[in-house]
């Protein structure tokens, strides 16, 4: 059953066709990878779906609901959350507060002005539990700015995950980290996301990561979809080999 679909979604920047009439479907429960060369339109597509950008034309649906013109918070309420390519944290807050804030936002508690945030035991417990799941529980009281790059990436995902979305977009969760950390991050993210029953769309460049963790792979090239299918099928696709890997099958 499709959780999200787009119809002829289009976004041009002058002469550049970043997203060019894309029909995209995400099915419930899948771990999908969105791949393509730099400038293929992956991040723009996620930006359109998450309301970071407005489309030139086309429509976006969550289930049967048209969210094309919905605001960011309406999209979050409809179950869409995202992380960012460049790590986006609240650097001066503690690691625990970063995640707690996401929970407060989800629970509609951020307007509470006459209550101590630290005294909300349920939120603190959930935030601590989440940090443990993501393997950064030991750094809960550290300032977010003091984390190593791999930990920052995990925290970035944890913040989005704490919103308990139906659909989570992860924009290059392993960019800028070492090969060893990449595997660790993807193992953690994949197990937490799958364990939580959340549908995930991951933008990724590393094809080893893509083939290892994905249920389905969508390949973009110059704003359009080049291929869409299970990892094994994509691996054998001659167009993908030509445009993405620069080799023949």
């Amino acid at each position: 059953m499709s959780l999200l679909r787009t119809e002829k979604l289009k976004k041009h920047f002058g002469e550049t066709r970043a997203v060019d009439g894309v029909d995209f479907t995400v099915n419930e429960g899948e771990f999908l990878s969105l791949v393509g060369t730099n400038g293929a339109g992956k991040t723009t597509l996620v930006n359109l779906i998450s309301a970071f950008l407005l489309p030139d034309s086309g429509r976006i649906f969550v289930g049967d609901r048209d969210i094309t013109h919905a605001s960011v918070d309406e999209r979050i309420r409809s179950g869409i959350a995202r992380s960012f390519q460049l790590v986006n944290l609240f650097d001066d807050l503690s690691v625990l507060d970063n995640v707690a804030l996401s929970i407060f936002a989800r629970e509609g508690k951020t307007k509470r002005i006459f209550a101590l945030a630290d005294r909300d035991a349920a939120v603190a417990q959930e935030a601590s539990g989440l940090l443990e799941q993501f393997g950064i529980g030991g750094k809960a009281q550290a300032a977010a700015r003091d984390l190593a790059q791999g930990e920052r990436k995990l925290l970035d995902v944890a913040i989005a995950y704490a919103l308990r979305p139906k659909l989570l977009f992860l924009d290059e969760p392993t960019s800028g980290v070492s090969t060893r950390d990449k595997a660790q991050i993807m193992d953690t993210v994949s197990s937490v996301v799958r364990g939580g029953g959340i549908t995930a769309v991951v933008i990724e460049h590393d094809m080893d990561v893509v083939f290892k963790y994905s249920d389905r792979v969508v390949v973009m090239h110059e704003g359009r979809f080049l291929a869409d299918g299970p990892p094994e099928e994509i691996r054998r696709n001659s167009d993908v080999a030509k445009y993405l890997l620069g080799t023949d099958v």
Binding site: L93, L101, A105, R112, I113, L116
Partner: protein, 329 residues
């Protein structure tokens, strides 16, 4: 708050409680000025330190509080400080709500300039509508016409000044403590954490579903109320309100409080306001070029103590603690 922190607060509070007994009327009066300005600094810092918005127009709220008291006394014959507080807070909140709608849609230099411009509009109104505001002569707010605690305490007679200073000091101290506790609660609440999140990373906060504009607006209103309250308490002490209180250098002073004490620290602006008050009073007494003295202090601060007095002290304490634990693990 840690035990050591609570101990520090208790010690300062004890010192403030006994201060009038050994310091004399003049010093008590000076400290009282510092405490009222500290309330303004607390309000201001909710915007600068916790929300990341630099206002150059907080004189508008200080002046609104002060003028509300003077106008209520002159035209409505009110003498109760509690009614002044009620009227002043309502007027400051209304003004902040109105100005906030315009200002918080912008950030950085645009926000600063907008707040500055709007506060100057109020200054012009106070200056031009002299038949209401008294123009440059201002409006008098004599302490002898003031009553505290619903009329239980009054200060009739020419020799009541010392009594006024003592009673008013404790009144201001109670309000100051209440404001400090309230602001501490606000900045440690989910709302306060959300403001800090907006300050640190507006985009990410937006993608948590936080409606940025609403939170900034509410912070602006709360900030305006605190600063307005400072103006309400300040004017009986000063005895007079003139358009000067609305003029931009007054806003600059409030910014100075935060920079002096350190705006990334809760106690910083409080300490900054109190120290600035002493600095200004003694600089004026010592030299006619007192502005140069304050200017030099500001340059030295920005150059050598960018974290402010309290911020730098906290950093130094942290370093010493770390060094100590390395030497004696």
């Amino acid at each position: 708050m840690s035990r050591r922190g609570l101990g520090g607060v208790a010690a300062v509070l004890a010192l403030l409680l006994v201060f009038p007994f050994f310091a004399g009327t003049y010093q008590t009066q000076l400290l009282m000025y510092g405490l009222t300005l500290a309330i303004a600094a607390l309000g201001f810092n909710l915007l600068l330190g916790y929300t990341g918005l630099l206002s150059f127009g907080h004189s508008a709220f200080l002046g609104t509080g002060a003028y509300t008291v003077a106008l209520m006394m002159r035209y409505l014959g009110v003498s109760s400080l509690e009614l002044f507080i009620l009227g002043g807070v309502v007027c400051s909140a209304a003004l902040a709500a109105l100005l906030g709608v315009v200002c918080v849609r912008h950030t950085r230099i645009f926000f600063a300039i907008l707040t500055l411009a709007l506060s100057q509009v109020l200054w012009t109104l106070a200056y031009k509508f002299f038949w209401i505001t008294g123009g440059t002569d201002g409006l008098r707010v004599p302490f002898s016409q003031l009553t505290l605690l619903g009329g239980l305490v009054s200060f009739p007679g020419a020799d009541a000044f010392a009594k006024f200073i003592t009673y008013y000091y404790y009144y201001v101290l109670v309000v100051f403590c209440a404001c400090t506790a309230l602001m501490w609660l606000i900045v440690h609440s989910p709302f306060g954490k959300t403001l800090q999140a907006i300050r640190d990373n507006e985009t990410r906060a937006r993608f948590l579903g936080v409606r940025i504009w609403r939170y900034r607006w509410l912070a602006f209103v709360v900030s305006g109320i605190f600063t307005g309250l400072a103006g309400i308490l300040w004017v009986p002490l000063n005895g007079l309100v003139t358009p000067d209180v609305l003029y931009w250098p007054q806003s600059g002073k409030i910014v100075f409080f935060a920079v002096l004490g350190g705006f990334r620290n809760f106690a910083g602006p409080i300490v900054g306001a109190v120290i600035f008050n002493y600095l200004e009073v003694y600089a004026v007494a010592v030299t006619q070029y007192w502005q140069i003295t304050l200017g030099l202090v500001l340059i030295a601060l920005v150059t050598f103590l960018p974290a402010g007095i309290v911020g730098s002290a906290v950093r130094l304490g942290g370093r010493l603690k770390k060094k100590g634990s390395e030497q004696f693990p």
